[in-house]
Symmetry: C2
Subunit: 442 residues, 2 copies
């Protein structure tokens, strides 16, 4: 067939294809618009009810339509609170408000509440942002008969647009009357933005005189350089723990969990982590060996949620642990680990299932940490790839390539200089990340 | 038409389309396999011949086939040399060799040479890497009757694979006999890796007793986090300038040019910038006001080449200047500028032509620099977007959206705190970046 005939045929086909697409492809695409991450857990876990904690969620239409976008948590009288927040200089109005309220050290007597909306982060919104926080938290305080100083709020979504807080306050009465102990999954759903699945985790600890339960939920998906999506985490326990102790316990486990999933996670405008202890377990106040067990369980829940956030990294197809040892200090180990975990070239190589260890070498070199080419070694899982200044003589490219096919990878670097170490988790960088972020707002 | 009919039609169309694709689309795609960046200059510039400098390039098959991949520069007796290199702890064997040779301060008498190959960076190749450098530079020294200490080499390409140096040494005689003053464009071509166009720039300065010429070439394209592609730059002038002065002049202009195009550019394994002054202009030694004019011209050439590297950023469709003023220090201004310029979320928003200034707010917040929400302002070009803690009342989203359609953008941030400032250049982050880097090696 001549080229001109082909061209005529092409024109005809183009028309037919457009019709075909309308009939077959678009309805499917519409359904799959937000495919669940391939790294997602099979299902939302069964979380234990925490005595003294109840949840509700509603459709308020803050930004999204046809989905629940505001959730409320009520915490019974006697609940102690702890929190860790972003250090961003442009953090949101609600983050500043939470920090101020926690610093007031209000006695636990009256109980507390947490209200969260998705779709708008109320960050960089000036005085009207502060007014919005006041309006929302005051409405909740009134509805639940709490002091306003015990109502914490979070907002997640677009930065710089005024929060239409009247849409939230209009729903506070509905929320207050819908509170249920078993609605935690619904609450996890309501705070999702670009998340493809809700995130939950739990643990049970044997206390002194009864079981202690921990349950937590998180949202987060813009993992590679968290921004407006970033992280909100709420942890609940029925343990009896004074507020000051609770704060110390929480702070001890943040670095190895939520601050190890990306170098930027601690500095977005909205990052909020709250831990509430209702004290309603039959177990006595958490102390001694029970405290140790409790902290281990808390660490496990925090790490589980942190890894779920990476698993939901925008466009992610691989979960990667970067494990650095042998650095001259923990700080140097962290520099190397984050340099690798944040390198677009390492992340794209992983997306392409390419065992391109040269890019890991380059990331180590640029990290700013002390490193000696002839002392460091690089492993893919257990496979020794490079050591003594060059490619390991036993390393075969096929082995690296086969290893890369797995959905969960470990990149291990030993710098051979000291005892400093750090493990961080990241995901690969795919075209889907670009698609999601090139038109998040439109 | 029923769904089953559509499906039958689809099957038939699929077959026809495959044939159509073979006939029409694939030949076009094959030709466009490496499309030139939309930000590329219209053509390689006309560069002046520099008296005392000659070039040659050959096909050596180091890695690439059917293209020139090794280039040689000969520099006449009396040429002084200066250089600036990556600070990576895993820098390549040739970078270490160049640094050692420059430190020897060999008198300019004998002349000098530069040999560059693409396809393999000879980085992280241990002792065999050093041997490869010695073999190549010794072969050039012998062919051109130079001391080996005056032969500088660069390698760019994959990290961690032994450089097949015999393929290069086998071509040294051919190179030496092909040296020509007017072959600088061919040399620029030979060092390209993922570059989509060769980069050149020049300037002429009125010296004391004659004209002084400057010509330079560069390669670089992996801009977002330079790695194996990164930057090689060679600058030539016929000015008379002693080596020590030349080194000081070069060093003064690196920060505002090549070190302002990405935070990682100064730390890859191969980055090399060499400046050679043959002294063959009729003008007297560069001093006083001529020195000032010469440095201004040198700065211009360096900046032009640096911006060309950004214009060839992998997958780039936009050239973006990030201009930060009003910081408490230049260092703080640099932190903010690079935080914005390296933010994947800012870069993807620009790719999507989305005036998503909230992501700029987030980048400022995470930068680690001192910032006050209520004092900073953000502009797109001349359009005031945000100030006094929130969106400017006069800002209209349509204006921002229209501005974003341009291929060259300025993001200006004034922190309102002091006199610290820094401008850096970056490009957008597109799916094409992922495509290029997910299978660079295959």
């Amino acid at each position: 067939m001549a080229k001109s005939d082909w061209k005529a045929e092409a024109k005809d086909l183009k028309k037919k294809l457009r019709k075909l697409k309308e009939a077959l492809v678009e309805p499917v695409l519409a359904k799959k618009a937000k495919p669940v991450s391939p790294l997602a857990p099979a299902a939302f876990p069964q979380l234990p009810a925490i005595a003294g904690v109840s949840f509700a969620a509603v459709e308020a239409g803050v930004r999204y339509q046809n989905r629940r976008d505001v959730m409320l948590v009520h915490l019974a009288p006697g609940t102690t609170m702890a929190g860790v927040f972003t250090r961003s200089t442009t953090r949101s109005a609600c983050v500043r408000d939470c920090q101020a309220k926690l610093a007031m050290k209000v006695p636990a007597g009256a109980g507390a509440a947490i209200i969260v909306n998705s779709g708008n982060s109320n960050a960089f919104t000036g005085l009207v942002g502060d007014e919005a926080v006041a309006a929302v938290t005051t409405a909740v305080a009134t509805a639940l008969t709490l002091p306003a100083s015990r109502v914490f709020s979070s907002s997640t979504g677009v930065i710089g647009e005024p929060l239409p807080h009247d849409r939230i306050t209009a729903k506070v009465a509905d929320l207050a009357s819908a509170l249920r102990e078993d609605a935690i999954e619904m609450a996890a759903h309501a705070m999702m933005t670009t998340d493809t699945f809700p995130k939950g985790a739990s643990a049970t600890v044997q206390g002194d005189g009864g079981l202690i339960h921990i349950a937590g939920i998180a949202k987060g998906s813009g993992m590679i350089a968290p921004d407006m999506a970033t992280m909100l985490v709420y942890l609940f326990t029925d343990a009896k723990i004074p507020a000051a102790t609770l704060q110390k316990m929480l702070a001890r486990h943040v670095d190895a969990t939520f601050n190890s999933i990306t170098v930027d996670s601690d500095t977005s405008t909205s990052d909020t982590l709250l831990l509430a202890a209702t004290g309603q377990s039959t177990a006595a106040e958490v102390k001694g060996p029970v405290a140790k067990a409790f902290e281990a369980a808390l660490h496990g829940v925090m790490r589980d949620l942190a890894l779920q956030v990476v698993r939901d990294g925008e466009g992610a197809t691989k979960l990667v642990e970067v494990r650095v040892t042998g650095a001259t200090s923990h700080a140097d180990a962290a520099k190397v680990a984050f340099a690798i975990a944040n390198s677009p070239l390492v992340k794209t190589a992983i997306a392409g299932q390419d065992p391109n260890w040269g890019r890991i070498v380059a990331a180590i070199g640029k990290s700013g940490a002390e490193a000696d080419r002839d002392k460091l070694s690089i492993r893919f899982g257990d496979i020794l790839v490079a050591a003594k200044g060059w490619r390991s003589p036993d390393y075969r490219e096929e082995d690296g390539a086969t290893y890369m096919l797995q959905p969960e990878l470990v990149i291990a670097v030993d710098l051979g200089l000291g005892t400093g170490k750090r493990s961080v988790w990241t995901c690969d960088l795919t075209s889907r990340y670009i698609e999601i972020n090139a038109d998040y707002r439109s």
